[in-house]
């Protein structure tokens, strides 16, 4: 039970990535004498994290699959049957997620520079949040994974309730309770696995569980427990109602992080945990995944059409777009290697791409709100006259969101559809109709906010400052880069999902590699 021998060593890069935000949070707590120094330190921290995450993306060797950049102490908490390890590592699935977190962390910090209320605490929480999310995406010990998963709740709670708008206390509490409930189920699932198999090593679990070890409770039950935890986070209908409230009431940067990376923890967990450890159960349950996915897509899209609050609209569109993740995952039921790989790669790609696109959307919506102090769509209109640069960012985010080719949104959607259609043609066909409704609400939103005659109230609005243009520009570049050449990402993702595909299709072609 000693885990796989190749997964040992200590590289240090990932440890730095995960713990430097905490170090910066501490520094901010101790050092600065005024708010500007806090901001400077936070920006510096964000840059360091961005550079490190880009570095991870670049140094990850695409030539060999499996986990790399491993940081592991075998005896962190050395109780024999309950050994908890310090174990970090990345594979093709997590590397892009790390990049996403570094990128959106930077964007969030830049978007927060206008915060004037309790600046010190604010940035401390943001940095802790970022560190926790990095932890989730790199932890390979199940308990560590869970600790980071829970840790993320604390900064979120304070960020929403102290710096939010509207019914912020209600929304913050709702968010925490929902996630907590989900994680309670998840913890039971984790413990059940441990009792059966005797390890928390996430890299060893797949082989052990699939090897036919007797589980203390039925595999389906463990699957269900774990899945609920992730389903709340993604979110899967009907567990989604925390999302519109939390997104709407959170401050801009927190909405960016919430939609951009926190939701992806759900999808990441589904692939990293449920699909990896119990691919056969996942394949058996694929009908449920695709059904819920179609509901998410269509229900989310139709409800989005009715929203009149810009942020709420974007929030509901997120629910719709996360449905594509589920639909992509449902391709796991394919007997063919191609469709399964394409579907799972598409699902992962959708997570990354939605993170950047919705990040950009919340960012620009936040900038509009900062200027107009309203998010009520009928009050807006003609804004392109006064704030064309923000308008361009907003429109690009919108077009990417509706899956326009040339943006990463298209690459993700087409892969999801191709993969899932091969297994579930009718249901996927229904979901494809989602792209029409999406185009409808996006363009209608653009028409009502950016175009048409301008309300005289907006005569004095000023366009984005140079500082604001940096995060907008960063996200646009990423959206276009991975849209024009998606192979940069899909090559990684397909390596990440390869073991899962091999396990479900038992394809000798892959297993022999």
């Amino acid at each position: 039970m000693d885990g796989l021998t190749q997964n040992t060593g200590f590289n240090g890069l990932l440890s730095a990535l995960v713990f430097l935000p905490f170090v910066f949070a501490l520094l901010i707590f101790v050092l600065p004498r005024n708010d500007n120094q806090v901001r400077l330190l936070a920006v510096f921290g964000g840059i360091v994290e961005l550079v490190l995450s880009v570095f991870v993306f670049v140094v990850y060797n695409r030539g060999e699959s499996g986990f790399q950049l491993i940081d592991r102490f075998n005896s962190w908490i050395p109780v024999d049957s309950f050994r908890i390890e310090y174990f970090l590592g990345v594979d093709g699935l997590s590397v892009p997620m790390v990049l996403l977190t570094g990128l959106l962390g930077m964007v969030a910090i830049l978007a927060s520079l206008g915060i004037t209320h309790r600046v010190k605490q604010y940035f401390i929480w943001i940095l802790i949040l970022q560190g926790a999310v990095f932890g989730v995406f790199t932890a390979l010990d199940f308990i560590m994974f869970f600790l980071f998963w829970e840790l993320e709740l604390i900064p979120m709670f304070f960020l929403i309730s102290a710096w939010g708008t509207g019914r912020k206390d209600y929304s913050a509490m709702k968010f925490v309770i929902f996630t907590f409930l989900g994680s309670a189920f998840m913890l039971v699932g984790i413990l059940a696995l441990n009792v059966s198999v005797g390890t928390f090593d996430m890299t060893a679990l797949p082989e052990l569980v699939q090897g036919g070890i007797k589980l203390v409770i039925p595999a389906g039950a463990i699957f269900g427990l774990l899945f609920i935890g992730f389903a709340v986070k993604l979110p899967v209908w009907p567990l989604h109602t925390w999302l519109p409230d939390a997104h709407t009431d959170a401050p801009t940067a927190v909405s960016v992080l919430l939609a951009g990376v926190l939701l992806k923890m759900g999808g990441y967990g589904m692939i990293r945990v449920t699909a990896s450890i119990m691919p056969d159960v996942m394949a058996d349950m694929a009908w449920l995944l695709v059904t819920l996915g179609v509901i998410n897509v269509l229900y989310g899209a139709v409800v989005t059409v009715r929203q009149t609050d810009l942020k709420r609209l974007v929030a509901f569109s997120s629910i719709s777009h996360m449905g594509y993740v589920l639909i992509g995952l449902s391709a796991i039921a394919s007997k063919g290697v191609d469709a399964a790989s394409v579907g799972l790669t598409g699902a992962s790609m959708q997570m990354f791409t939605h993170g950047t696109i919705t990040g950009l959307m919340f960012l620009t919506v936040g900038m509009i709100y900062d200027r107009t102090h309203t998010r009520y769509i009928p009050d807006l209109g003609g804004l392109s006259n006064r704030i064309p640069l923000i308008g361009v960012g907003f429109l690009i985010a919108g077009l990417a969101s509706l899956g326009l080719p040339g943006t990463s949104g298209f690459a993700a959607e087409i892969l999801v559809f191709l993969g899932a259609f091969s297994v579930w043609p009718w249901l996927t066909g229904l979901a494809v109709f989602g792209v029409v409704i999406t185009a409808g609400y996006i363009l209608w939103m653009a028409q009502r906010t950016l175009f048409g005659p301008m309300n005289n109230r907006w005569e004095k609005l000023t366009d984005a400052t140079k500082l604001e243009l940096i995060p907008i520009g960063m996200l646009i570049v990423v959206i276009l880069l991975f849209g024009i050449y998606p192979a940069l990402l899909t090559d990684l993702f397909k390596m990440g999902v390869e073991p899962i595909v091999a396990a479900v299709t038992s394809s000798p072609e892959i297993l022999n590699r």
């Binding site: 709702k174 309770i177 009907p238 109602t241 229900y299 139709v302 409800v303 059409v305 009715r306 929203q307 063919g336 290697v337 191609d338 790989s341 394409v342 790669t345 003609g382 392109s384 006259n385 077009l399 326009l404 080719p405 040339g406 298209f410 690459a411 087409i414 892969l415 559809f417 191709l418 259609f421 091969s422 043609p425 996927t428 066909g429 494809v432 109709f433 792209v435 029409v436 185009a439 409808g440 363009l443 209608w444 653009a446 028409q447 950016l450 175009f451 048409g452 005659p453 301008m454 050449y485 998606p486 192979a487 899909t490 090559d491 397909k494």
Partner: protein, 655 residues
């Protein structure tokens, strides 16, 4: 012989123009910088030259040029490659798109001269042209879809160019949405092909390569019924882009864009994309008789349906818009009866004479102060001789009068429909003939209302337009007139010169018809049918005569036909109530007010309601239990004693 890089540059030139104007000129040099126009023109001039080189190379080569394709995405055995397919069809499309676009850009430098968004305009124009070129070059289905959608997106930007006008913003959205509805089918067709990917891959084919898809039926990789479903899906996409009934409603509204935009996207490019798509996958369509019948019928119905609406429009651009829909119907019905080369020939000639007509409409409107309403024009013949001449050439061509380009291509379509011997082809032949009559009538109704009679004041008389400066009608500037002249010459020549009845010098007989065939050559080129040509010409002349009698002559009976009270007139004027059906009934009443509102309510009250109920009951239970904590020691003592007794009792019972 053109090489691959040079061919790619046909696409890269406008793309580079887009990037440079969009990222450098517009933000840094100026919103109204002349440089933008010049850059676009330079880029398109280069592309046009390269296109002619490509055309020459394919002619010289005798068959399609083949280039290596490049991998865009690879997952396991799934390969998505981007490459160039350079055959007769592509090169013809390249020449049409580039040369028309070039002329439109030259014209635009005059037409848009005073517009505040001059640089923005050329940014979008370059992007649009690049997308369209990318579409016709594509050798891969996904690649095609990519550019297909980009054409849609850039047309969205162009139609909504004057985004402050609510009508323009709405029209842009409508164009994108209606075409996307068709793309839903196109996307399903792609997915269905991939559904059969194992059959492709085991035969060494790729389900996304255009050539492989086209060969799949003949090689027995997919059955003809699979091919039929794929073709139907693609046809849905084509109907959207080419504005076939019932997807036609976006095109007339799209006239809200600047007129040169209409000339480009509604004559030579975007709307032709649907025809191009069907032509590109023609072998796939031909594999299924039923699909071909559907294509022919949709085309035939569209041709007459749109022509009938065109009869009563007062806005000159709307007349041309419905005329475009109708002509696209002609092309579609030609494809449906198997007349592949005739359809492409008509696409080719139509691109020139319709661009010409749109540009003349722009010229007229420019001259009368900005209105497009023909009721406020009239008498412009003497004032605008060049424009008038251009309109006559274009109008006669549209009506199908010898020796204009339109005569030759329309005749070929009618000839094929006549010779094809199915029930459907008989029906569409008569539909087409009737539509030809209407076409001649509405076109010359427009010509007479605009150029004959007395001048009725232009924009000044139009209550819908507020003008700040008084304009007297005048001929347009050179930058606008020169493209008109070039297009007029093209309209006079291209018909008989590129597809001649006998060998003319080095141009062989039926050159065009032979050339667009990639080399399969199974469609016989029909001999020119003199009888049919005479009949269709006569019908067109009758249409023109009727228009003359009603709108120019002063014969009482005919004059009274101008009256606009009859029920038929109302039906036509309201465009058969399609917009009302779609927008008011389906979108507003059914979708928005019922379905979306219902689900929104369900979400708020029911699903979130359950959450709130759980929340509330949790609190209530907590409060209930909290009430037990009274703080009185006696009470606790009683409960504890009972508890001990109870446990003891249980112990005794279950011992």
């Amino acid at each position: 012989m053109i090489n691959e890089l040079a061919t790619w540059f046909i696409f890269f030139c406008p793309l580079l123009a887009f990037i440079i104007i969009g990222m450098v000129v517009w933000p840094f040099v100026g919103k109204k910088s002349k440089v933008s126009g010049y850059l676009t023109i330079a880029a398109l001039l280069s592309s046009t030259i390269l296109s002619f080189w490509a055309l020459g190379s394919v002619i010289q080569n005798g068959h399609a040029l083949e280039f290596e394709s490049h991998n865009w995405l690879k997952i396991q055995n799934v390969d998505i490659n981007f490459g160039i397919m350079l055959d007769g069809l592509t090169t013809i499309m390249l020449v049409v798109v580039n040369s028309v676009s070039l002329l439109v850009q030259i014209y635009s430098t005059g037409y848009m001269k005073h517009d505040g968004g001059y640089s923005r305009y050329f940014t979008y124009m370059s992007l649009f042209t690049a997308s369209m070129i990318g579409l016709v070059l594509a050798s891969n289905l996904i690649q095609m879809f990519v550019f297909w959608e980009l054409v849609g997106a850039s047309s969205y930007l162009l139609i909504g160019f004057w985004f402050n006008k609510p009508a323009a913003a709405a029209a842009a959205k409508k164009a994108f949405l209606v075409t996307r509805l068709g793309d839903f089918g196109f996307l399903l067709a792609i997915l269905y092909l991939f559904f059969n990917s194992e059959a492709f891959i085991s035969n060494g084919l790729n389900p996304f390569e255009v050539i492989d898809v086209n060969n799949a039926v003949a090689l027995g990789v997919i059955s003809s019924s699979v091919a039929g479903w794929v073709a139907i899906g693609m046809f849905a996409g084509a109907m959207g882009k080419s504005a076939q009934v019932p997807f036609h409603t976006w095109l007339p509204d799209a006239m809200e864009g600047p007129t040169p935009v209409s000339a480009l996207i509604h004559a030579a490019t975007m709307v032709a994309a649907g025809i191009f798509l069907v032509a590109r996958f023609f072998p796939l369509f031909e594999a299924s008789k039923e699909v071909m019948m559907v294509v022919a019928l949709v085309g035939g119905v569209t041709a007459i349906f749109a022509a009938s609406i065109g009869l009563v429009q007062n806005d000159i651009k709307r007349v041309l818009a419905y005329s475009t829909i109708s002509q696209l119907g002609f092309m579609m019905l030609a494809l449906g009866v198997g007349a592949y080369s005739a359809a492409i020939f008509h696409l080719f000639t139509h691109a020139f004479f319709k661009a010409l007509l749109f540009l003349t409409a722009g010229s007229v409107s420019h001259s009368v102060g900005g209105t497009f309403d023909m009721r406020y024009m009239g008498g412009l013949r003497r004032l605008m001789p060049w424009t008038y001449g251009a309109v006559m050439v274009g109008g006669l061509s549209l009506s199908g009068i010898f020796p204009m380009a339109g005569f030759w291509s329309k005749d070929e379509i009618l000839n094929h429909a006549w010779h094809s011997s199915t029930v459907v082809s008989d029906v569409v032949f008569w539909l087409a003939l009737a539509a030809a009559f209407m076409t001649a009538f509405y076109m010359f109704r427009a010509v007479f209302m605009t150029f004959e009679g007395s001048y009725k004041g232009g924009a000044k008389s139009d209550p819908d337009i507020e003008i700040s400066v008084e304009v007297t009608p005048h001929e347009s500037p050179k930058t606008m007139v020169i493209p008109l002249i070039i297009l007029s010459i093209a309209t006079l020549l291209v018909g008989w010169l590129v597809n001649p009845l006998t060998n003319i010098g080095s141009i062989p007989m039926h050159w065009f018809s032979e050339f667009v065939h990639v080399g399969d050559g199974h469609e016989k080129v029909l001999a020119f049918n003199k009888m049919l040509a005479a009949i269709s010409s006569l019908i067109a002349l009758l249409g023109i005569l009727l228009a003359y009698l009603i709108y120019v002559s002063n014969f009482g009976i005919f004059k009274s036909l101008q009256k606009t009270t009859s029920g038929v007139y109302k039906l036509l004027m309201s465009k058969y109530y399609f917009d009302e059906l779609y927008e008011d009934v389906i979108v507003k009443q059914i979708f928005y007010s019922k379905l979306a509102a219902g689900l929104d309510l369900l979400d708020k009250s029911f699903i979130d309601g359950i959450v709130r109920t759980i929340d509330r009951s949790g609190r209530n239970i907590g409060r209930l239990i909290a009430q037990l904590q009274t703080g009185q020691l006696q009470g606790y003592g009683v409960v504890t004693s009972f508890g001990v007794l109870l446990m003891f009792g249980i112990y005794l019972i279950f011992r």
